[in-house]
């Protein structure tokens, strides 16, 4: 075996030899191969991620751990993170998606937190094959989440041909832990045992992380398809319960989940973070298949395994817990004081000997060009503006019934969204609102990743992703506690892809700074390419917020007639760049860059209106499909007798109805609230518009030169089944 076989470059290999003072043996080379892979080392993105804001008053744990942690209140902390499982989900959609869910849940559990919610963000192509793929992916997400008993409370899906052979399956998990619980992925002490819990190790997923997820996908990768990892949510549930009970005793040094790169990554990172060494007795690792080599055992990505670090004196108590949950376990090694990781087998007590900080902390990172910061913020080339001069009744239905806007019920009804009985608002709303048992504050959870906006201008798209998700929190008056970002892009060795990556992250960074919300963790998935075609750079942003009164979410649809309909659009601009409407007609043009300061101010006002909302006011962020879709969905969510009449200026109606510029809200409210909004937004031209009134006629009427009516049944059918022309 040589360095190319494990995916290393000549320079990396030279550096390894230099650090070790010798040539690594085959096993060691394998370990370096996985840990220095893109997937595990973040070598192309780490320098860029460093630029994201990580500090905030609510932050307990920023990036660098299995998940970020923020403070809900003095007693309860929230662990949350997004993770991708893109490549595996293309190879075997059901198992790929299922194991993605299992993996992110174990990250949360490894933080000592009990998972309480999942959110999925999916991207597919537009062809028929992609729709079967979606069906299978949804099956997989549900198969794991439903069975392990964690509700999938929100999510999103979008479609574009670029995702045809590179579907994205990003899943965010949220968990709760008592404030006093120490962060558990460091703290391993010399003399403590490494106890491996759960599924016996098989040849599953070997090279999944190092090669498959770190190289482009194409004919050439066929031969290195790893053995498909199969999720076992049943064992996942037992593992979760046993681990949490063990953590609860306070007797563990440390916990580490086994994810990408299996034992190699788990032990190396554990030792590295805890500043210790370890000796692993590889023959002790329970194997599912006979004849597994040390290399295979170390690299296996068999699911449903967890590593506990236990003092010898605490073993008995911990083993009792594990036995109660009927989990297989085995002591496979011991923590040492000397910072050396030794892999020992009966034949060779020094089968591999490497320092954890070389293995897990020394991978050379891709340098970031000096001038990148300014470069990527440069204004994108302006594409000729697309402005329809008329507007047709059918256009509304076409957008509402488009793949990107139509109802997601066929997806989310396949997820258990109610188990654990804290889902006040589930997936039939744009964000989730959860109660937290025993305390007044609740959680607002949202996820958004508008790839279309990043397609032509990644910087703008990055900003928009953050703006989108925070608009949802603002509409509930929820205080954002932190963000997690799932970055998905193509091959970073290509200049254009890397440039997009830089721009995307710059956009996310600028936006999170402007809104004052830190990024506490995330995930980067690169090499999402097939036959040289990269996906749109796609940033999936997950947010958790502190909801002041979760038992009474602020309405997102009117419940009484007579209310004013107010449209807040801080930019006063109605450009169609990046919109669904545009994408149905022509190739997407650049998304208008948001004025972040103005958006931050807008969200402050909306949030304060939401916080003091009476029981009449309803607030709904304007998202994909623009105002028309927001109006239609509000109508469909309101009592059957209600209708809406809005008036728009005749020559700009189409732009106004379908623009997706950032920061728009639709507010249904009594005149006093409308007045408050008018005085807050009056300073910006076009930012406040009183569009019309909630009526009692059951129809959506749009008056712009001519008056156009949409019946409830027609809207309902289009939303549910799609536009049929």
């Amino acid at each position: 075996m040589n360095y190319q076989d494990v995916g290393l470059t000549a320079q990396e290999f030279a550096m390894i030899c230099d650090k070790l003072g010798r040539t690594p043996n085959a096993l060691e080379l394998g370990l370096f191969g996985v840990l220095w892979s893109e997937h595990c080392s973040y070598k192309s993105s780490k320098n860029l991620l460093a630029d994201l804001p990580h500090e905030g008053s609510a932050v307990v744990q920023g990036p660098g751990e299995n998940a970020g942690v923020v403070r809900l209140n003095d007693a309860i902390h929230v662990a949350f993170k997004v993770e991708s499982h893109n490549h595996p989900s293309y190879v075997e959609p059901v198992q790929g998606a299922a194991t993605g869910v299992g993996g992110i849940l174990r990250d949360i559990v490894a933080m000592g937190a009990r998972p309480i919610a999942l959110a999925d963000s999916l991207r597919f192509g537009t062809d028929a094959a992609s729709q079967s793929l979606r069906h299978a992916v949804v099956e997989g997400v549900g198969a794991y989440g439903n069975a392990i008993g964690i509700p999938t409370v929100t999510g999103e899906v979008a479609y574009a041909s670029g995702y045809e052979k590179n579907p994205l399956v990003n899943v965010m998990a949220v968990g709760l832990l008592p404030a006093e619980r120490p962060i558990s992925a460091r703290g391993a002490k010399p003399g403590s045992y490494l106890v491996l819990l759960g599924q016996p190790t098989g040849r599953d997923g070997i090279h999944g992380a190092s090669l498959l997820a770190s190289q482009d996908f194409g004919e050439g990768t066929e031969h290195m398809r790893p053995t498909v990892q199969v999720g076992d949510p049943f064992m996942g549930k037992l593992l979760m319960e046993a681990t949490l009970e063990a953590v609860g005793t306070g007797l563990l040094d440390s916990v580490q989940d086994l994810g990408a790169a299996g034992l190699t990554s788990a032990i190396a990172e554990l030792a590295y973070r805890s500043e210790v060494g370890a000796t692993v007795w590889l023959d002790q690792v329970p194997c599912r298949e006979p004849g597994m080599t040390p290399y295979e055992i170390m690299l296996s990505e068999t699911q449903e395994r967890m590593l506990l670090v236990v003092r010898p004196s605490n073993m008995e108590q911990i083993i009792q817990i594990v036995a109660h949950w009927e989990l297989p376990y085995q002591v496979i090694g011991v923590i040492t004081g000397e910072k050396v990781l030794t892999i020992a087998t009966e034949e060779d007590p020094a089968a591999a000997v490497v320092a954890p900080d070389v293995l897990a902390g020394a991978c050379p990172l891709k340098p970031v060009p000096q001038d990148w910061a300014a470069e990527v913020r440069k204004t994108a080339e302006i594409s000729p503006e697309f402005t329809p001069l008329t507007w047709e009744r059918e256009w509304g239905l076409e957008v509402l019934g488009s793949l990107d806007c139509m109802s997601r019920a066929p997806i989310y009804q396949r997820y258990d969204s109610m188990i654990l009985t804290h889902t006040v608002w589930g997936p039939d709303h744009s964000l989730a609102v959860l109660t937290v048992k025993g305390v007044e504050e609740g959680l607002a959870v949202a996820v958004r990743g508008p790839g279309r906006y990043a397609a032509r201008d990644a910087y703008s798209g990055g900003m928009a992703a953050v703006a989108r998700v925070l608009a949802l929190l603002a509409s509930q008056g929820a205080v954002p506690l932190g963000l997690t970002d799932g970055i998905n892009a193509g091959n970073p060795d290509k200049e254009s892809v890397f440039r997009d990556l830089m721009a995307l992250l710059a956009g996310i960074g600028d936006a999170s700074r402007a809104f004052g919300v830190p990024v506490t963790g995330g995930n980067v998935s690169l090499h999402n390419e097939t036959h040289g075609e990269p996906i749109w750079p796609t940033a999936v942003i997950g947010a958790v917020g502190r909801h002041p009164h979760p038992l009474r979410p602020v309405l997102d649809a009117p419940e009484t007639s007579g209310l004013d309909i107010v449209w807040i659009n801080p930019s006063g601009d109605a450009a169609l760049g990046g919109s669904v409407f545009e994408s149905l007609r022509q190739e997407t043009t650049a998304y208008p860059r948001p004025d972040l300061a103005r958006l931050a101010e807008t969200y402050r006002v909306i949030s304060s209106v939401a916080q003091s909302a009476d029981h009449l006011t309803a607030i709904r962020p304007v998202e994909d499909g623009g105002l028309f879709v927001a109006l239609s969905r509000a109508l469909l969510a309101s009592p059957p007798s209600l209708g809406m009449t809005v008036e728009l200026s005749a020559d700009t109606a189409a732009s106004q109805l379908f623009t997706e510029v950032a920061g728009q809200f639709l507010v249904f409210c009594p005149p006093e609230t409308a007045g408050r909004l008018e005085s807050a937004f009056g300073q910006w031209p076009g930012a406040f518009m009183r569009l019309g009134r909630v009526t009692g006629d059951g129809t959506l009427t749009i008056a712009a030169k001519k008056s156009v009516h949409y019946g409830r049944v027609e809207l309902e059918r289009t939303y549910a089944r799609g536009y049929r022309g």
Partner: protein
């Protein structure tokens, strides 16, 4: 002509079969010793084809393209004239 087709789909040996594992464990508790228990699928259908050779070709194609996922499953096809 009508042919009866049976496609047996099994997990590849190296693929984990959690359902099989749990079933074996319960059988054991019930006092039976079943080793290496694996749960696969058996798909049965009818097919119109001019002769058995063509029926077999079609059935094999179906198995290959849809009924089994070659990354994790193997299959066996049997075709019998009705």
């Amino acid at each position: 002509m009508t042919f009866n087709v049976v496609v047996d789909v099994a997990w590849k040996e190296e693929i984990l079969d959690p359902a099989g594992q749990s079933t074996a464990k319960v059988l054991q508790q019930m006092g039976y010793a079943a080793d290496n228990l694996r749960i696969g699928k058996q798909i049965r259908f009818q097919l119109q084809a001019p002769d058995v050779a063509q029926a077999e070709t079609a059935a094999r194609e179906m198995a290959q393209r849809l009924l089994a996922n070659p990354v994790m499953e193997t299959y066996a096809v049997r075709v019998v004239a009705e």
